[in-house]
Point group: C2
Chain length 188, copies 2
DNA sequence: GAAGTGATGTCACTCGATGACATCACCATA
DNA sequence: TATGGTGATGTCATCGAGTGACATCACTTC
């Protein structure tokens, strides 16, 4: 794999995933990743802000799609319903690659730095959803709360799906979690 | 401040806070902190696992107190009410130092690494609360959800309190956020 | 006062991350 | 087809975080 092969970023992502699965995140240096991709460490840092980021390339896209879905929800929909529409969009995007998701989550779960990075991606998502809700006229505090709880539902459902059977549908798990939230808070 | 003065850990924490406020987190090296505390960088890393951790010494105590409060809630209390008791305990511990909290939050908010670290502390808290709920007989999925949403309420209320007037009571803000959550989900 | 103990310092090293500058492949155009 | 421009990559030097090995210091105990 020579210096000018196409898709350097994709090669780096693949090499990283391979090495993380083979020996773990900490036992892999950036130089290792770059070497397997036929590049140098300096080039790695031209594509990714830091070592962790190589695992989170899709999160910006996911966030954009979820925000679009939230914006597209009928204006009559409640805040939580609009958030639910965003979760559906997420299920569409992630629901087809159960094995890959499982591997990736295993790598992340095994390392503190990566868990931290994942959490801040979720926080960014929550922020973006809250902004979308405000644009729909939802007042500040409610927008934050609805977005936060929505992301909590997303995270819990995703985890449950990843650790469950491959044939389960992510969207079903998400709907079930959302229902559970409603009953949890309504019952008081 | 010589080599064998007492409370090395406390001196390091103070020196760090001072320097972070003076020049910012990134512009402060661990060697700077250690020097101001009359120690060396090597010793810093004997007290704190990494540079970020110097700002999060209280989080383990906070977590322990919140879990205690949750466990002490009457067994008749609903999951969300037990979580609310934990939030009250947090308000007790944090509510008296508005200025310090505000400074600390400003430092954290200004830096991505520190935001990440704070998020994982919140995740740890959520995990601990969920464990406490399970010990009370709450089923798995509901325990996670109640803990996550409870921590979301905590975070939002704390932020609102920190950015509000110094005379506001943290416990009041927390109660208001919790009420808002109930109405938000019950209205559908 | 000698031995032991725990806290601290010193040294050397690896790795993540970044700036400055050189080099390469490729493309447009004269 | 030569020339120059452009963007991607490599090379080199450097800083700071973090760690292991070992020396040193203050203090305690017998």
């Amino acid at each position: 794999m020579g210096r000018w092969e196409p898709d350097a970023s994709g090669r780096l992502r693949e090499a990283a995933m391979e090495l993380f699965l083979e020996r773990g995140y900490e036992q892999t240096t950036v130089a290792d990743i770059a070497e397997r991709a036929g590049l140098t460490a300096r080039t790695f840092f031209r594509y990714f802000a830091d070592k962790r980021e190589v695992l989170f390339g899709g999160s910006a896209i996911l966030e954009a799609r979820m925000v679009s879905a939230l914006e597209a929800a009928p204006s009559s929909a409640s805040p939580l319903d609009a958030v639910a529409a965003a979760l559906d969009a997420a299920a569409d995007m992630l629901g087809e690659r159960h094995k890959l998701s499982k591997q990736r989550q295993a790598v992340i779960a095994a390392n503190g730095e990566l868990r931290e990075r994942e959490l801040i991606k979720m926080a960014s998502l929550s922020q973006a959803l809250a902004n979308g809700l405000r644009a729909r006229g939802v007042p500040d505090s409610g927008a934050n709360l609805a977005a936060e709880t929505g992301v909590a539902v997303f995270r819990i459902a995703f985890e449950s799906w990843v650790n469950g059977p491959a044939r389960a549908k992510l969207s079903d798990v998400m709907h079930a979690s959302m229902e559970q939230l409603r009953s949890l808070t309504a019952a008081d």
